[in-house]
Subunit: 310 residues, 2 copies
């Protein structure tokens, strides 16, 4: 199995009430790829950077054995830079700056060696570009896409066109309500499925996630974290763990999609425990297993019925 | 086993975007008792009504075999009346009127025959009255209490005193944050335990519920309801299902507390499917079993690990 990841590569500066990091590796394709790298190889990354994208950043990706043949380097260009400040309530974030730089004119070109890829994960980029990626590759087994309110508002028609090409859409609670104009989250999840993707995952942050397939609904808990240091990249990391597990097992049954949601949640729970990529770029298999198992402990119960004769 | 329920008895008028009902039986002790009545007998209700509390209301309670010896009837008095209007977003509610009437001077007197009761559920009433109830009864096996932001703000010192006497506190998400001044819900749940109750349940509405015991945290999903007609009484119904299951099984192990949370969620999910008591005053055991089992389907997954050799 192989996985193609297309998305942003960025240099982030992040402030939270618990600290600050400057000029660290970020971007959706970074978080997706690193999370997925614990599950599957090869991972083929398509993105764009400038000549300021230092060897230090490349090393982080190469250490996780991510294939960078599809990473475009624009000579003399500057990499996409993002700065954000989180409040004490980490659900509230101010964007300090968004310098798109070379990302503004990103045109994803899929190398010939990538065209046959079993699994595809499209990070949160312009739906027009997501569409263009899919035109360049042979029919993969499963395409997972992410989006955000910016595209729901700004490129609604293009997004709806792209949604028809996705097998799985991962989005958050407010985005699901916005794209369907439906306050009830169960109705919203079902309505998103009618827009194209036969599988929908709604991320609810501290409340976990909901999976909608043609035949089931699954409710995953959130890991009970007392200290969240930096939420940056949690959503992308979820997507990476989710698609990574599916690509590894090559199994899209409901039972395995549920596990994929838990692996996504597992990876996201590590991501937010430290700044940037610090916690999860060097995880052990044992740490991942333990956390996955904790999710089971957290949500499982044994049946016992009213007419049990007690 | 026996269960004592103390709380309000009310006559409600409820409007939602889906309809309106006038002068229907309501109140916390009504919802708690009826929910618990599917699990345990006898249920002993202590509350107060006026002479306008018609035979029709009494029949509903007696049909569920609820013992009304402790229901005080004030001759010439008027029963507590509450009117509320829910918005399209059912989380938003306007209180149209709150006529406390005889409830304003409610002094819970526990009949002699009730003093030995194994389980006690204190509905959301003044913490001073909750305290007074507990002074009148012999040490029960478990005391469950409910509260609300009104008492957290208005009678904080009295509430803190009463909390020390509770084994279980059931409260909602915003109340847990408010009483502990802690935005992180996991920290808040643990902090509530430090105020007295060794078991805490945080209700999160459409996001399910969290159980905190001395040794575990359990995350229960919400039943995926597409149509909620009337949220009135859902919290009390949760408490009734929760304590009802515990009283029936006489088992306060972690494994059984988890099931109690699911039975509470099960009963609450029925409560909101129709107006007032309409859906859940005539449930069958089979309906309850089916819904309980659905909660299991909704949240369970089987483990499979990264080093599974696939």
């Amino acid at each position: 199995m192989s996985l193609l990841v297309v998305g942003s590569l960025a240099i982030d500066t992040i402030e939270t009430p618990f600290g600050r990091v400057e000029n660290v590796l970020g971007g959706s394709s970074t978080y997706i790829s690193i999370a997925a790298s614990y599950f599957i190889k090869p991972i083929r990354l398509v993105g764009v950077v400038g000549s300021d994208f230092s060897k230090e950043y490349i090393n982080i990706l190469e250490d996780r054995e991510i294939d960078l043949e599809g990473m475009q380097v624009i000579p003399g260009g500057k990499t996409f830079r993002w700065g954000g400040r989180y409040h004490y309530d980490l659900n509230v974030r101010d964007t300090l700056y968004t310098d798109l730089n070379v990302f503004q004119h990103f045109n994803p070109v899929i190398p010939k060696s990538y065209k046959k890829t079993t699994y595809v994960c499209l990070g949160n980029i312009d739906p027009v570009l997501q569409h263009r990626v899919l035109e360049q590759i042979e029919k993969p087994r499963l395409v997972v896409g992410d989006t955000m309110n910016f595209w729901i508002k700004g490129k609604n028609a293009e997004l709806r066109k792209t949604l028809k090409l996705l097998d799985v859409l991962i989005l958050n609670e407010s985005e699901a309500r916005e794209i369907t104009d439906e306050p009830n989250l169960i109705k919203a999840g079902k309505a998103v499925r009618e827009l194209g993707p036969r599988i929908v995952v709604i991320k609810k942050g501290e409340h976990g996630a909901l999976l909608f397939t043609p035949s089931t609904i699954f409710s995953a808990p959130a890991f009970p974290l007392e200290n969240i240091y930096d939420p940056t990249g949690a959503g992308d990391t979820f997507a990476g763990g989710f698609i990574g597990w599916i690509a590894k097992t090559n199994d899209i049954s409901d039972a395995n999609l549920k596990r994929a949601v838990i692996y996504g949640s597992t990876m996201a729970s590590f991501c937010v425990e430290k700044f940037s990529l610090d916690r999860f770029k060097n995880l052990t298999i044992l740490e991942i297993h333990d956390r996955f198992h904790s999710f089971r402990e957290l949500s499982h119960f044994e049946e016992d019925f009213l007419d049990n004769g007690k």
